[in-house]
Amino acid sequence: MIELINIVLLGLLVITALAAIRLHDLFAVTIMFGIYSLLAAAVFVVLDAVDVAFTEAAVGVGISTILMLATIGLVGRQEKPPSHRPLLPLVVVIVTGAALVYGTFDMPPFAAPDAPVQQHVAPRYLEQSPHEIGIPNVVTAVLASYRGYDTLGELTVIFTAGVGVLVLLGFRRRRSHMADSPEEES
């Protein structure tokens, strides 16, 4: 049963990705990206990664779709015709993809219990976190406590992104306002 769900979800992912490539209406492409993220979130739920699915549904489907739609509102919804032949990029992508797939042959089978990733620190977190941290959600325990330093780094990335957007879009907008209509600011 779970295999059937996986096949359907992954098949829909491929169809959505192909549709996003084929379409030239950027509005439709954005909606396709939103559907893609929603399907990815469903895949994460099937994998029992509900925290990741939650993030994907909120950020991938919600925020990034809204941001891309807002950008389309500024730049127009029609894709420009490509100025170059797509042959060379296609070859580069196919070679890179083939190399990546070849690289996965050396990896342990999916969800193998003896894989190094399952043997490293994960057993200790799962066994010790009820005694050391004492909260039921191990994901939160790992994120906020065991790996608190990494989460601080992630938050710094978000903070930096916010500052970057403010510097690029927020401040310039106000200056152009002043240039256009100085009385509005006073």
Binding site: D51, A58, A70, G73, L152, L155, F159
Partner: protein
């Protein structure tokens, strides 16, 4: 879009539910799926919905860009400040064991505070993104 009565009414009913759900995700992250990051995004989604229907200037009246900038820094400072506090109390950086009277209590308090910091910064940055992108047309 604020001339359409159905949108206006449904938005005003929905926004409190979204904000309440964001609070639930924020403070229930220890027990179920969720945490500061998801809660911040959901909290921001309520403001974005408000902005989509009533315009970005209406959002600026609710929360001014100055306050948003303050909150963006405040969340990160709260997270980093918890680390400084644990060092002052004699532990390592971000070692919450020293925060409470016993290690488990300290861990609870530390996780609560850093998740709150994550939520504040993420919500403020997401609203800033929306205002910066969508606000350029007004």
């Amino acid at each position: 879009m604020k001339d359409i009565p159905v949108l206006r009414v449904v938005t005003k009913i929905t926004i409190p539910i979204i904000l309440l759900f964001a609070m639930y995700v924020q403070f229930h992250g220890d027990y179920g799926p969720g945490g500061g990051f998801q809660a911040g995004v959901i909290f921001a989604a309520a403001f974005i919905l408000y902005g989509l229907v009533f315009g970005t200037s209406a959002v600026r009246q609710v929360v001014s860009p100055g306050i948003l900038r303050l909150l963006t820094a405040l969340g990160l400072l709260l997270f980093a400040g918890v680390g400084i506090l644990t060092m002052l109390l004699g532990g390592d950086y971000l070692d919450y064991n020293t925060l409470g009277q016993d290690p488990l209590h300290g861990q609870h308090l530390g996780i609560f505070l850093v998740e709150l910091g994550v939520g504040i910064t993420v919500a403020a940055v997401m609203i800033t993104f929306f205002l910066a992108f969508a606000g350029r047309r007004d």
